[in-house]
């Protein structure tokens, strides 16, 4: 049976070719020099039907082992309300390009404007850009921005506790503009930033100091306001990295002197997805001069030209690569808009109460888990005295953390992110994390396995 539609599709193609005066599509590629033409078929699989593709992917995914994990370290497992998923998969939003034509893109623009404003409520600032790639790149861009605010300050300071992956990203961004950095050590007892070390390293050559709160050990920096004072006394800028959900309970960084607030937005409605895409947020206080150094897109509220309606538009674009080219504040073009949009949905739906409850769940589950682990003979948790939010460092005093992890996986669990490579001085440690996704049963079963492992480690330490 001849498929009539396909038959006519061929006719249409012929029509187009004859309109162009060509006998075959090959003629449109004749300007490609023969020496670089690919004269063989691509060595790729043959096309799969939608059914076969689904079956194939299903088979691949069955190779993943289902586990309950207590991993954090820059990505956390949080519940995503159905509304968030529904909104960010609406084709009108998901399948739009960057809103370069604002008159037909009001939905995306208004949603991003709301996102910007909602993040401001958490950080205490009044400007948030329309998103960066993720937390690490947001830190890096914030450091570059601070460097640009000074003529001749060429150095930045970061905490030694920072996650090594984030530091590696920062190193790559600092390389080009030749900005040097130094690490500020942490107080071995509390896990908080070592203020004496900060004082020693602060001088007039420092453009910015990056502080994480809670830091990469999960510890809350109780003396953040003092850090801010030390930094500002030398005229430098303070960048603070935060967990946005924790800000339901923790002070807004603007209130203790942050100049720029950055963080990982993933927890606000973006799935873990094995590491991405996530989004970084980037907040600061409006200043007509400083804003000119901000990276990334930003949505503004304006009016229609006839003055009749409120409307939204990408603005202050002269900072960006498509206009200022080599003098742009950043090369960023694509960002993580739909995820930022989703975070706006998330925050609007949860409201202050829902967010606070979620944060308290994270906080309290972590304290429960830590105190139970600490009862074990060969485990210490948390190893730092500083108060923590929902991540904490666990040490095993006999055997290795790697061995513990192997045992856990056999039982369907993944414990924490091991710190042996980046902080061998802390011994056999890992950083554990709890969220509202951990039911009491999850935690209880996990503790049972840990108790068994602890017992198997035997008597003496």
């Amino acid at each position: 049976m001849t498929n009539q539609k396909e038959g006519s599709a061929d006719t249409i193609q012929k029509e187009m070719e004859s309109y162009l005066g060509i006998r075959s599509i090959d003629e449109l590629f004749e300007d490609i020099p023969p020496s670089v033409r690919l004269n063989r078929p691509l060595k790729l699989p043959a096309a799969k039907s939608e059914r076969d593709l689904s079956l194939y992917l299903d088979e691949i995914l069955s190779q993943n082992l289902p586990v309950t994990s207590f991993l954090g370290g820059g990505a956390q497992f949080h519940y995503i309300p159905a509304l968030v998923k529904e909104v960010i998969t609406k084709p009108e939003l998901l399948n739009a390009y960057t809103p370069y034509q604002p008159e037909v893109s009001q939905g995306m623009l208004q949603g991003l404007f709301e996102y910007q404003s909602l993040i401001n409520e958490l950080t205490g600032m009044n400007v948030t850009n329309a998103s960066m790639y993720d937390w690490p790149t947001a830190i890096a861009e914030a450091l570059l921005m601070c460097r640009r605010l000074f003529n001749n300050r060429t150095k930045v300071l970061l905490p030694q506790s920072i996650h090594p992956d984030r530091l590696s990203v920062v190193e790559n961004y600092l390389a080009g503009p030749k900005i040097s950095y130094e690490l500020i050590s942490f107080n071995k007892e509390t896990g908080e930033l070592d203020l004496e070390d900060l004082r020693t390293k602060m001088n007039e050559n420092v453009a910015a100091v990056y502080l994480e709160n809670p830091n990469s050990f999960g510890v809350i920096e109780s003396e953040a306001a003092t850090v801010s004072r030390i930094v500002h006394e030398k005229g430098a800028k303070l960048i603070v990295g935060v967990d946005p959900i924790s800000l339901a309970l923790l002070e807004a960084p603007a209130n203790y002197g942050a100049d720029i607030v950055v963080g990982e937005g993933q927890g606000l409605g973006t799935p873990l997805s094995f590491g991405g895409p996530y989004f970084g947020f980037f907040s600061l206080q409006y200043d007509r001069k400083i804003i000119r150094q901000m990276p990334g897109r930003v949505v503004g509220l304006t009016k229609t030209k006839d003055g009749t309606k409120r409307a939204f538009v990408l603005t202050l674009s002269t900072r960006e690569q498509h206009i200022r080219r080599e003098k742009a504040t950043s090369n960023i073009c694509s960002n993580e808009s739909i995820l930022a949009f989703g975070a706006g949905v998330y925050l609007s739906l949860l409201g202050a109460n829902g967010l606070r409850k979620t944060a308290e769940y994270c906080l309290k589950a972590a304290h429960y888990l830590a105190s139970e682990i600490n009862k074990l003979k060969h485990f210490e948790a948390p190893i730092f005295k500083g108060q923590f939010y929902n991540e904490f460092v666990v040490r095993v005093t006999k055997g290795t953390m790697a061995e513990v992890e192997t045992r856990l996986v056999e039982e369907g669990f993944v414990g924490g992110y091991t710190l042996e490579k980046c902080h061998p001085e802390l011994g056999e440690t890992a950083i554990f994390c709890t969220t509202e996704m951990h039911t009491f049963e999850d935690i209880d079963r996990f503790l049972k396995v840990l108790r068994k492992i602890d017992k198997d480690l035997g008597g003496g330490a």
Binding site: I25, E27, P33, V36, L38, P41, L42, A47, S49, E50, L53, L57, N64, S69, F77, K90, P91, E92, Y97, E103, Q106, G107, M108, G111, E114, Q116, E121, S131, D134, A175, S222, L250, E251, L272, S273, F274, G275, P277, G300, L301, T302, T304, R310, S317, R325, N331, C333, S334, I338, G344, S348, L349, L350, G351, G354, K364, A365, H367, S371, E405
Partner: protein, 512 residues
């Protein structure tokens, strides 16, 4: 056709902060288990006093049903490629097949933490591994990192890899320049500057291609790399690419391929065979992953053998002995990490599904149809006799073409911006405008392969109508758009008195 034809909803939708507060029905966050409540001190005992939040964030207090309406209305005021034709040059707004979205939402993908041990994520690493293999073959490269988040991020990664290579060969301090044609995307010079390089701009020849003599005049022992897209932003294939490569390589520089225009050449030729040393792909363009109103994208970077040691880590590997996949962190000369974790996995999965569903022949067919559509539409619009085709008008374009609106502007005073806004009225998204910079009043049109002849004809008809209106009813253009969610927006006001948030809006209201 002057009658008002509504093409979008026109809601006066309040901001989410302006919705009426309600407590019913409220959103229930999970309850903290009683066993935990019992054993853990109160919240204010767990947080240092000085860090306790004094005032809760002022988030909206609204119910799900209010929000469902709010976002539905916002969506109805947004144009997408699922709405209609999206001929945005350089952006490759093709249709994004639904199956890719569905597959990417599988919980076995979405609920997996990036730090899980390899043995628990064999399927995921396999997807990374196989995606890389396919991209290597498509571009003719040795290895590809999937880490970068977007095209510009890929550029930065590629240039940092090239930088590491030069440093490793003792020429890092000496090679301080990156050469870029004047027709390049803005990200190219911005990337070069971010990576610490001085950009050297070379002018295009009258045929729109790289001027070999100009290139020879600027390459030197200072050249780190040439950044090029091929076909270039005019949609023209750089026919002397082999000579270009030779000139740059002879001077010890490397060739970087901006993959924004890769949709033009799949299965026809490969950057690796043209002499390029590094390339980024835009998965959100060529490989049909949704662009999400600005992102996420993904910008994998492929390189030739000599650059492999410097790629970001980890790289996905397959151990034939054990039959297992793993992430290899043991890459001693690697530049390290360019973003957190391993890449925009959820985007990569969609691109992977796309490549598998197209297959070898399908991907070649994609480029053929994209090029056929572009040339067809180009000829159709040129028949309006309103716009001209600068640079080598007789040479076929590849996936896109750039029209010049200078003549029309001189004759009627109507600018390309007005034309773009009028297109919105007629139910189409506008092309990319005022780019590339080497064309006056530029309209850059990329139809992609996923459009019918009928759509292309309708678009050409709309252009013809606009050309006529420019002479007969210019007010229609100057006042356009009228049929969209809002009429033309005051961008001057937006930039002059920026209101970048609800907070600034409120401050502004109280000032007044």
């Amino acid at each position: 056709m002057n009658k008002k034809e509504i093409i979008q909803a026109h809601y006066q939708e309040p901001l989410v902060f302006e919705l009426e507060p309600t407590n019913y029905p409220k959103y229930y966050a999970p309850e903290i288990p009683p066993e935990i409540m019992k054993n853990v001190p109160a919240t204010d005992k767990l947080i240092p006093k000085e860090m306790l939040r004094k005032e809760p964030p002022k988030l909206p207090s609204v119910a799900e049903f209010q929000l469902a309406r709010h976002y539905l209305r916002l969506a109805q005021m947004n144009y997408s490629v699922d709405t209609n034709f999206y001929p945005l040059g350089s952006c490759t707004m093709k249709y994004n097949p639904k199956i890719n979205d569905f597959l990417s939402m599988d919980r076995r993908l979405s609920d997996v933490h990036p730090f899980q041990p390899a043995r628990t994520v064999q399927g995921n690493i396999r997807i990374l591994y196989e995606t890389e293999q396919m991209l290597n073959e498509l571009a003719g490269m040795k290895r590809t990192t999937l880490q970068p988040s977007a095209g510009a991020h890929g550029e930065l990664t590629g240039i940092l890899v090239i930088r590491a290579y030069h440093y490793d060969h003792g020429e890092g301090e000496q090679r301080t320049e990156i050469i870029i044609p004047d027709s390049a995307h803005g990200t190219n010079p911005a990337t070069a500057a971010m990576a610490g390089y001085r950009t050297v701009i070379i002018k295009s020849r009258e045929n729109g291609l790289v001027d070999l003599e100009a290139l020879k005049a600027v390459v030197s022992e200072k050249t780190a790399a040439l950044m090029l897209t091929n076909p270039n932003t005019l949609g023209l294939f750089e026919q002397e690419i082999c000579e270009i490569a030779e000139i740059v390589h002879d001077a010890g520089g490397l060739l970087y391929y901006d993959g924004a225009n890769f949709n033009a050449i799949m299965g026809r030729c490969r950057p690796g065979d043209m002499g390029f040393d590094a390339i980024h792909f835009n998965l959100h363009k060529t490989f049909a992953t949704p662009h999400g109103g600005g992102g996420p994208g993904a910008g994998p970077v492929g390189v030739v053998e000599k650059l492999v040691p410097y790629l970001p880590k980890p790289l996905p590997e397959f151990d034939k002995k054990t039959g297992t996949y793993y992430l290899n962190f043991d890459v001693p000369k690697s530049i390290g990490k360019i973003k957190g974790f391993w890449g925009n996995f959820n985007v990569i999965v969609r691109a992977y599904a796309y490549m598998l569903s197209q297959g070898a022949e399908g991907l070649k067919r994609v480029s053929e149809q994209a090029v056929l559509n572009a040339n067809y539409l180009k000829k159709k619009i040129l028949e309006c006799n309103a716009w001209t085709l600068p640079y080598a008008p007789e040479t076929p374009r590849k996936h896109e073409f750039v029209l010049e609106g200078q003549k029309l502007k001189e004759e009627t005073g109507i600018s390309t911006l007005d034309v773009a806004k009028r297109l919105l009225d007629l139910g189409f998204h506008a092309p990319t405008i005022y780019f590339p910079l080497i064309v006056h009043e530029a309209l850059m049109i990329e139809p992609t392969e996923t459009e019918t002849k009928q759509t292309l004809d309708k678009f050409a008809e709309a252009m013809k109508q606009i050309a006529k209106e420019c002479h007969e009813q210019p007010e229609l253009l100057v006042n356009a758009p009228q049929n969209t969610a809002v009429p033309r927006i005051d961008e001057v006001l937006a930039a002059k008195e920026p209101i970048l948030s609800w907070q600034m809006y409120q401050e502004r209201q109280t000032e007044k």
